[in-house]
Symmetry: C2
Subunit: 351 residues, 2 copies
């Protein structure tokens, strides 16, 4: 499966790092774009999923509680869709000191000029209207991301095209560290690009996003799902049931393509819609049924998980502990290579 | 004593943070400007002396081994001059994760614009000729310094006038954290300014500095001390022994003022030099005797200490361990106040 939808074949020694900023509940866009792939990928190679609370704080520094409140929701989302903590390490960024320590070393090897020219940072600055008032943490987050990737010695990072410059920045740091230490301490990573198109928002926008209010979250109640489907963007030219309708750009059909289990039935519906005689009320009812069937078990597992906060914390604790050990190995190797391991035993035995 | 030479009286609950970048052996300028004050201050209040290897890396990222090689030399310098590890916590910055973790939180509360306008950073950029090629770590080091100060809940920081903007930056962060959390989590600090003039370099330059080659290091061998004294800048108008000589700006007399134990003898020498008849060879011989007497026991203790690397490491380990516990308290309080202490026990019990 993986070869077909990705730009690169998985190698036997690949290690994946991926994650989410805990700024809200995950939604259908995440399910298709990152969660289902993770459920598949965890069967093939070691995978760490980082709940990037520190990164979420880079533009939410004034509302840390909002970030904190979303952490366990995200863990519940993960488990509800089938990410298996026995196969995938689920870890909390702020609980892993090496992810804060490595940037201290890396940031001396990246210039202010280089960071300013990072296309992803530049475009995010444009989108978010920051600039002079840009928080330093937001400006420097490519360095923190390089720390995350290299700390886990990840070789594959699932990203969108727009995130490729981030991986280039990471690989520059990898080469600098290896050149300074004269050892192959760190490994370059490559992007894992999916050929799957991005799920549009319910209003037809390019991207489903909580902030745009066009998302169906994984925990959405049945009536919310139904309301979201009923308000979906279809074909504005398709006024009467008997009018011929357009399928392209019609969000209901985009979703049916993605979520309906029977492709031939979708093809029939499309043909019918195109020639006229199939109303939006009908297609929306079909889509609603499909989504209710998809989301009901996820929502139920999610609710059950959220009612057992202790279990979610345990899962996150165990994953974070594993992540600590792994990332500390990378940190200690760099420190040793720098000669800064004088107090090495202190690092390993106590906090 | 402390009231006379400082801008502020020590309070009973003051806590001092100070330190050095381990980029070379400490010298007479450090002895007068910071080491002797520390020996005095450690009798009055809790004091942490940080060996700031991470900060040293901010403009030595390409030569970490140089920084590493100087760490134990600095510990030996401290102990040789009488800094008492029983009274003063001597700690290694890179061995204390909280000092890397706190900047991750603080850097979201400082804008890129604010950092660029930091006068100390601006002037250091000018001096070192960086700018576009400025390492990010160097650009952001005021945030790291704020982390150092606040992590130890320091209230007094011995600095030069030029470093006051750094403390203002720190106090801004303190107020931001306290305002976000709605608690008095962090305490503002104040500068401890010394009225003692800075020791000039042997060539008469404003500052003694290893890089300028005008420094007498604490471990200097007798012949090196003698050579340094013999080459000292005196009064270029004082050609013949019988010529009247000038004492002001004459480095030999500046040093005699600072280091000669008998002030009345120095006054006599000055009078003699002014009216003529006292040669530079004679004043230099006297200064050489004074410095040899001062530095011989320091050098001997230093050599003895450096021959017992294990002991130096133990001292640094013990201090760093204590510093870890102290700084972790500050970090955990902030995380708890942010709601990011979900995995709190993990932080405290294991690495």
């Amino acid at each position: 499966m993986t070869q077909k939808i990705y730009n690169t074949a998985l190698k036997s020694n690949d290690r994946i790092l991926t994650g989410d900023r805990p700024t809200g509940p995950l939604h259908l866009g995440h399910l298709v774009g990152s969660l289902q792939p993770r459920v598949e990928l965890q069967r093939h190679c070691p995978q760490t999923v980082l709940i990037a609370d520190l990164q979420a704080l880079t533009d939410n520094g004034h509302q840390p509680q909002m970030v904190a409140d979303n952490v366990l929701n995200v863990v519940a989302d993960y488990l509800a869709v089938g990410i298996d903590p026995g196969r995938t390490t689920i870890a909390l960024q702020s609980a892993i000191p090496a992810l804060s320590e490595l940037p201290m070393y890396y940031s001396n090897l990246v210039t202010v000029g280089r960071l300013s020219r990072n296309p992803t940072v530049k475009s995010e600055i444009r989108q978010k209207g920051l600039s002079e008032s840009l928080p330093v943490g937001f400006f420097t987050y490519p360095i923190s991301q390089a720390a995350d990737i290299t700390a886990f010695q990840a070789t594959l990072v699932p990203v969108g095209e727009d995130q490729i410059p981030m991986l280039e920045q990471t690989n520059e740091i990898v080469r600098r560290i290896n050149s300074i230490t004269g050892e192959e301490l760190l490994t370059e990573c490559r992007p894992l690009l999916s050929h799957m198109p991005r799920l549009p928002g319910t209003g037809g926008q390019a991207k489903m996003s909580k902030t745009l209010g066009n998302a169906i979250s994984l925990g959405a109640k049945p009536d919310l799902i139904q309301k979201a489907v009923e308000s979906m963007y279809t074909d504005p030219g398709h006024v009467q049931v008997n009018d011929p309708g357009q399928v392209e750009g019609n969000v209901v059909f985009t979703y049916l393509d993605v979520f309906h289990p029977d492709k031939s039935e979708v093809d029939e519906l499309k043909a019918h819609y195109r020639r006229g005689g199939l109303g939006d009320r009908k297609t929306k009812r079909i889509l609603n049924d499909v989504l209710q069937e998809l989301l009901t078990p996820i929502r139920e597992r999610r609710e059950q998980l959220l009612s057992d906060r202790t279990y979610l914390i345990e899962v996150l604790q165990e994953g974070s502990m594993r992540a600590r050990i792994e990332t500390n190995i990378t940190l200690q190797r760099i420190k040793a290579s720098f000669g800064l391991d004088l107090l090495g035993e202190l690092q390993l035995t106590q906090h």
